[in-house]
Symmetry: C2
Subunit: 390 residues, 2 copies
């Protein structure tokens, strides 16, 4: 087990009607002037936004707002938010939405007190040393951004999709998580969320670090719960218990609970980021295409942990041929993704002829000559994985 | 799943040599004048205390100290600490030790800014609304106090052993966890810690709350890791990987990671607190006696979750007769405890004729007419469990 720091200071307020506490919580964490950030119209149509505003008013807080954040959130919206926050002298960003909204709020929070271009942080040219407070009312369990210090933004000009980690500054101070708010998510969006949170665990689970039993067992436990609850939600989208378990799973998949002491491997995410940057597909759907391909490559090249997952998550019988076990894992995973309505190939994703040379070139331009850790992928390896996803 | 709040703001700095960071971390969390709290001589003999002092000095911090905290920590030591802190104008308590030392530091932290008697908090007569900061260098993985907002203190006069929960004020600001510091723990103390952390999980796992799949799976995963690593430590006490996994397991067993959304059941702990208050036995050893008896009672009265644990932790074959499965769980658990060198009866604990009427009377005086939740124990039930432990 490697040395590590676990730091998850967010106060998670979980359950029915918890959005009513947003005003009291914002006050408790020192807000005076709030900016609400949200996405499309669903938060408006469902009445959630009104309930949030009402709760803020009742707590004596004033606020401004910025809607219109899109999936695969973009830099131009961040610049708009930074300007608005400075003009309105905001001291807390309240993200009402899913990962795209929260990631946009985090980028704004880091950008407001910074004199340069916020994109410097994503390029690694500058370090976050100060940020406005970020808080969350979560509506989509997927990205885990409600409990992480990470954010992913796409630069429209140049189609760069890059991530930033600044856990000491960008972890939300509180996150309100009411599973009922997820009842009306379209099945496809629920499925994309399921895939995203599973892959957040995979990226930690697929490690060469030895002696990580506690991490392995927690990863496997959370994955087992996700698969079970995803089936139940597919059968009944308004199953509170299933929605609740899934919502919490999405958080623990990404706040550091899983993967303690492991060298992580973010290759699948990076392979996918190039796909969604170029073709603007849903991140979770892109992952459902990439991950089985990545695992198939690993079945050939480094099957150990894929075989272990096969046995412990999918109850594949243990046998000597780890390659066979790993392939069985791929097969079960694809079956599950298909049941959830997810694509498992570029073709099913609607991309008949992906520009694989371009994807490979952008990937290694953005992430260096070797990508990932479980197996360090060369451009040739990345190409093979994209090919396996056709 | 019930509504819940998860709040674990402690910064956990985990791994080899991490105690060297104590000065920098104390500074980061705003300390100026520190009081080091420790127990017997092992922190002195091992040189740990000197290394901690050196790191504080290098960070430019001054400190005073109070040693001599005993297992089953007592109120008189808390009063001594409160006086010393006030006199020395301390603003951070640094606990170097295990649960007893940390719990004493927390009691002092709450007591210093309070005008009344600190025991008021434990009696429920007053609420903690302010406390000095608490930080930890952990040497015994067991109590989980390094990540919890709880403390347990025994009042010498009257032999009352009571607990206090004040998560908003008493969670350590940071906890340093170096598994190498646990190499020299005597096997019996390691075993007591293993039992204590397992029971912290049991008290959350044995719940009637439905739809708690994510909690169940995480509890089972952590328990599986604990049992595996405990065997490895028994074989080689200096196995770093095993010590590391166990140390982290002790934290997640009690910081709220396990048991989210569950109605908890602390009957086993309360049954045991009376035993260690009266006979001054090690808490973990007392639990090893009480818990199999509690489970045997449940095999008869409410076997469901005991049977589930049998299947998932001990691989007991699933069968219709849950009572049989639950008894198999008791049998495997006792076998494991015995392997670890723990007693599993009052007799083995060295108490030939426990005063069961007194234990029952004190338990229900302290905790009310019904104790626990999975089954609410009447005095007659408590008596039966104590009898089953003979």
């Amino acid at each position: 087990m490697n040395n590590f720091v676990f730091y998850s200071p967010t106060e998670f307020v979980f359950g029915k009607d918890t959005e009513k506490q947003v005003g009291a919580l914002a006050l408790k964490y020192g807000a005076r002037r709030v900016m609400i950030v949200y996405g499309g119209g669903s938060a408006v149509r469902s009445g959630l936004l009104d309930r949030v505003k009402q709760a803020l008013r009742e707590a004596g807080l004033t606020f401004c707002e910025m809607g219109g954040v899109q999936p695969n959130p973009i830099d131009t919206k961040v610049y708009e938010g930074i300007d608005l926050c400075r003009r309105e002298e905001v001291d807390m960003l309240l993200a009402v939405g899913g990962g795209s909204v929260i990631d946009t709020a985090k980028a704004i929070a880091a950008g407001v007190p910074y004199e340069g271009d916020f994109w410097d942080f994503y390029l690694g040219k500058a370090q976050v040393t100060k940020a406005l407070k970020v808080a969350v009312v979560l509506t989509i369990p997927a990205a885990g951004s409600e409990g992480s210090g990470n954010t992913v933004i796409t630069k429209v000009d140049g189609l760069q999709k890059l991530s930033l980690r600044a856990p000491m500054y960008l972890r939300p101070v509180f996150s309100i998580m009411n599973p009922e708010l997820t009842y009306t998510l379209p099945p496809f969006q629920t499925a994309c969320g399921v895939c995203d949170m599973m892959v957040h665990i995979f990226e930690r689970y697929f490690t060469n670090t030895s002696d990580v039993e506690i991490s392995d067992r927690m990863c496997e436990g959370v994955l087992t719960a996700i698969v079970k609850e995803a089936y139940r939600i597919r059968q009944n989208p308004q199953n509170y218990g299933a929605r609740a378990n899934l919502m919490w799973a999405g958080m623990v998949a990404h706040n550091g609970t899983c993967g303690v002491g492991c060298e992580e491997d973010w290759a699948s995410h990076f392979l996918e980021h190039e796909v969604s940057a170029l073709y603007n597909v849903a991140h979770g759907a892109g992952l459902a295409v990439i991950v089985p391909a990545w695992m198939t490559f690993m079945a050939e090249n480094h099957p150990q942990k894929v075989a272990q997952l096969a046995a412990r998550l999918f109850e594949v019988p243990v046998q000597e041929d780890l390659h066979e076990m790993a392939l069985a894992c791929v097969s079960r995973l694809k079956h599950f993704f298909r049941y959830m309505g997810l694509p498992v190939s570029f073709k099913e994703l609607g991309i008949e002829n992906p520009d694989i040379p371009l994807l490979v070139r952008k990937l290694h331009e953005n992430k260096g000559p070797l990508v990932g850790n479980y197996v360090k992928l060369t451009p040739k390896d990345s190409e093979e994985i994209y090919q396996l996803a056709l």
